[in-house]
Point group: C2
Chain length 341, copies 2
């Protein structure tokens, strides 16, 4: 009997990981989890009708979702697992549906050209060579893409917003600017949890209507304000005790990042603080799979962005004038760095 040596299971699972990803993304995009959440458990035949699935592969598709622990099956009826119910149902506060819709429509096809990106160092999205950044060139000029993008950012910032709203020492601070706020989930959660805080969401002009729509539903709406900001074009940024930058710095080159942080330092009140959060690479660059892959996503999506370690982030903050700097893990594959002025 031969020694079979290492077996190929893990490599096959990894290299064909886009199969499981597309099963999840298709189920999310087709509305399987939202349908089961709204109308209760359903059989294969019922889901064929409600979702519009062809009978040829409906059972294999649904049973694959069972094997992936996204659905449970009981007496021939499918229902959401608690994880799917929390993150894959439209309209829930913890929903990632907006994010995954964007992932499915834009990122999946763009990542098909990863080899070209690695060989050229150039983005592989809607950008052509004449355009400097998708925010100016594409995302912010196409209503449909922009609406999906701001929804995706809300999905992706929800868990961090909740932790920052509850765990940051807001008792010591009265005002906050969330820079690149998108729909404003972060200032909204902070204002809702902390009665005394005046929360400002700052972003480009085209974002305001999405922000106002989102914030209007909050009981704290009277303490949440939008400010038009262009952090490259504007000489100064709005003053506040605390600045928050979530999922912002990895969009830009290191020089651009330093320029942003210098303006942030000037805008923060003495005794104030800055909070930077997002995916961050581990210091040894050996463990943080999703942040390292997110950095490749920044290659696909931006002309010069990349992810970074908490140590690099703290170094940039010190160069800008901030002091201290502690890194704390957030729920999800993210890290939060806090420094003081």
């Amino acid at each position: 009997m031969p020694d079979h040596g290492p077996t190929p299971e893990r490599i096959l699972e990894l290299g064909q990981g886009f199969w499981a990803a597309k099963a999840l993304l298709s189920a999310t995009t087709l509305g399987v989890f939202t349908e089961l959440d709204r109308n209760g458990p359903q059989t294969v035949e019922e889901l064929e009708r409600t979702i519009g699935l062809h009978p040829r592969s409906s059972q294999d598709f649904l049973d694959a979702l069972v094997a992936l622990d996204l659905l449970d099956r009981d007496h021939y009826e499918y229902r959401n697992t608690p994880e799917a119910a929390a993150f894959l149902v439209e309209g829930k506060p913890t929903s990632f549906v907006g994010w995954f819709e964007m992932v499915n429509d834009r990122l999946y096809p763009f990542w098909g050209d990863l080899e070209t990106a690695l060989q050229t160092g150039r983005p592989q999205n809607e950008l052509d060579d004449a355009q400097t950044h998708p925010f100016e060139g594409v995302i912010y000029t196409d209503d449909e893409i922009l609406e999906q993008f701001v929804g995706a950012m809300t999905s992706f910032s929800m868990a961090a917003a909740d932790v920052i709203a509850h765990e940051f020492p807001w008792a010591d601070h009265d005002s906050v600017v969330d820079l690149g706020t998108s729909e404003g989930v972060v200032p909204t959660r902070i204002a809702e949890v902390n009665d005394h805080v005046h929360a400002i969401g700052a972003d480009l002009p085209r974002i305001e209507r999405y922000f106002q729509d989102y914030v209007a539903e909050s009981p704290a709406a009277d303490r949440i304000e939008f400010r038009t900001v262009d952090f490259f074009a504007d000489e100064t940024l709005p003053a506040a005790d605390v600045y928050i930058l979530g999922h912002i710095l990895h969009d830009w080159s290191h020089d651009e990042t330093r320029a942003i942080l210098s303006k942030v330092f000037e805008a923060v009140a003495p005794g104030g603080a800055v909070v930077v959060y997002g995916t961050m690479i581990d210091e040894e660059r050996r463990e943080a799979t999703l942040p390292l892959l997110m950095s490749l996503n920044m290659l696909i999506e931006t002309p010069a962005g990349s992810d970074y370690t908490a140590g690099e982030c703290i170094e940039w903050l010190h160069q800008a004038g901030f002091e201290g700097g502690e890194a704390t893990p957030l729920p999800g594959p993210e890290t939060m760095v806090v420094a003081r002025k």
Copy 2:
């Protein structure tokens, strides 16, 4: 402090699983593992030159491969992990490079249209509606696709070929036909390990040259023969003690499968056996993630194929006239079913 409830890590890892997949597929296609195997450990700068990686994201790419346990990094030099060395280096007997090249070039983009496949029940590959099957319509008429496809099939059948060659009771049998043999890895391994066995690879005429090239390198080449077979058009199949069908039955509808197995039964000598192997769904249809997803791959690739359980396979074999039927797990996510005549 709020109860954060379920956290989104697993869902994000799953839904963005195409990032890790494309990192592996790009590294394989660009030749990173083959280069490190042939020329030894290299630094980022060396790999930029040997592989043609742009410096912008080369380190993030290589460190992502470290985080995925495909590379090790030591003193700034990258080397293959044992798993990568076994399965991702071109030309090794256990190599999956051919498979992953096909996965990267064909399956990744095709799976982008999974929603359409699920809604229509129609393949989403090079087939158009007028064509009945990729083997006749596309794969077997395009030299480049065909060469990649037969290499992929060899990758995917290597581990099973080794087990079947060693563990099947060949002492009791003198001849074998591997039906749909592709390059002939299965008859080659059987003939090499079992001196007395006459091994026949049967496939469509266009496959013969790939088979002859592959078999020519075997020390057992004089006991390995190619036979032209079309298992639908031909009235009878070549006689043999044992028939093997690997990765064949999931290409076809259940009616077509039954038609194939009836002809196989007629061709097997009394006292002989049939071996069916490939991905198989667990009987409860709850656990076998890769086989369930492989069944969706058959939706993407064929007009009527799908995966099946070992129980369904044994039922078809009984309907064809075979007796018994034991299912045994193979290395990798595969199962082997053996029945007797």
